[in-house]
Amino acid sequence: MLYEIRLNKLQYEDKLLLRNVSLDIEAGEKVLIVGETGCGKTSLLHTLNLMNPGYDGCIKFHGEPIKAHPPDTLRARVIEVMQEPVLGDGSVRQAIEYPLRFHVHRGKSFCNDRIRELLAALRLPDGILDKPVDTLSGGEKQRVALVRAMLLEPEALLLDEPSSALDQSVSAQVADYLLCCWDGAIIGISHDPTWQRKFTHTFTFADKRLLDEKKLQSIPEVTQ
């Protein structure tokens, strides 16, 4: 089991967001978290990579409490991609290779074929690698950040509205790749119906609790 989440309370700072939450996430699963704005979706996501210390209960990652994992190791295995990613001020290639300087990623390197494969899968041209980051559109930045995260080969990605800056056709293709082709788990928040349909496991939150859990038996088909 990738995550076993048993929370009595989930808080952000001093605000109580959720009570009695119990959910399990398996390796490679594509999990969607649904609920109204402010219901605690993002805070829940952030408990999973130790970015929100405000909870009471136990979260296990591979059977071990997440607090027992060193934060850098855990966050190298479960990478969060921000809605408006920070890519620095160099070229796209520099932005992509930036995390390789972290101790936790030592020994890793990216081969050009893999970079090209992922760029193509997310409908980005090869030439984008030499472009300065600040000339990219919001949608391109989101996809570059996704490529960077996948190159680090994490077991799971935490995605908060990953398609917010993508146009319809690109968004569908990105969703197809991430949710139907990529091996790792995805735990995401999305209001985009194209994306929502492709998740295999959906948790719905309302009134400070888990309202509904839906699990698809088969993996949805690629649309294109």
Binding site: E13, M51, P53, T73, E84, F102, H105, A149
Partner: protein, 270 residues
Amino acid sequence: MMEVRTIGLVISFGLMLLPLLIFKYMKLPLIKATGVAFLRMVVQLAVIGLILSYIFRWDHPAITIGWLAFMVAAATYTVLERLELPWTFLLPVVLFPLLLASGSMLAIFAVLVVKPDTAVGYPLVNPRLLIPVFGMILGNSMNATAQALERLASDLKANWRRYYSDITMGARPREAAAPFIRNAMRASQMPRIMNMASVGIISLPGMMAGLIVQGADPTQAIKYQMMVMAGIFVAVTLAVGGTLHLYVGKIFDNWYLPVPTLRRKKGLRP
């Protein structure tokens, strides 16, 4: 020795009316602040002059070292006052690097560079040498430390999303804060590097000017000055490096997030 006579002092005080009249003419509300600052300068220097004359007269190692310790305490207090964090939080971060960096440089000065000739009975703890030199080393380290900490805190606040983004990809606090630590060191050292490059051409530094006015040979005065400037630069770098290192170790918790004090004071939130 050229002496300042009382009448000279009175006349120079009288000349202070001139800038005040200019402020009045410009309707610039600086008269009160200038007056207070001037008074403080006079009182502080008078008291220090009196204290130093006693310290030099007694010339006792314990008293001299006690005064040096008081100087460190005052410097630490000045830095803590400038920063917006609780002093219990910052005290060790500021005190130890200041004490160790400037203290060890002073010790090296006293033992190695000046070479007190014990055969003639020249004492190692000589207040006439140690107090002014320590004042220069400590004063510079103090300003640089405050500057560096202010810079690091403001950079971290302005680039909080960048820090956040780095740690969510597995960076450790020192890795994610590295660009800000570099900037803080640069910001605090740049003025000193510029100063080192331009010294002597336009302005003579205070110590050298003092020695020359007192009739010392300029070639002797520059030797003192070179020695002091090197000492200052080394001490500043060690103090700032030490403070930044300790500060970064203290502001992040086990999960690499800002400690509660910083979240409240600086508004850094995950």
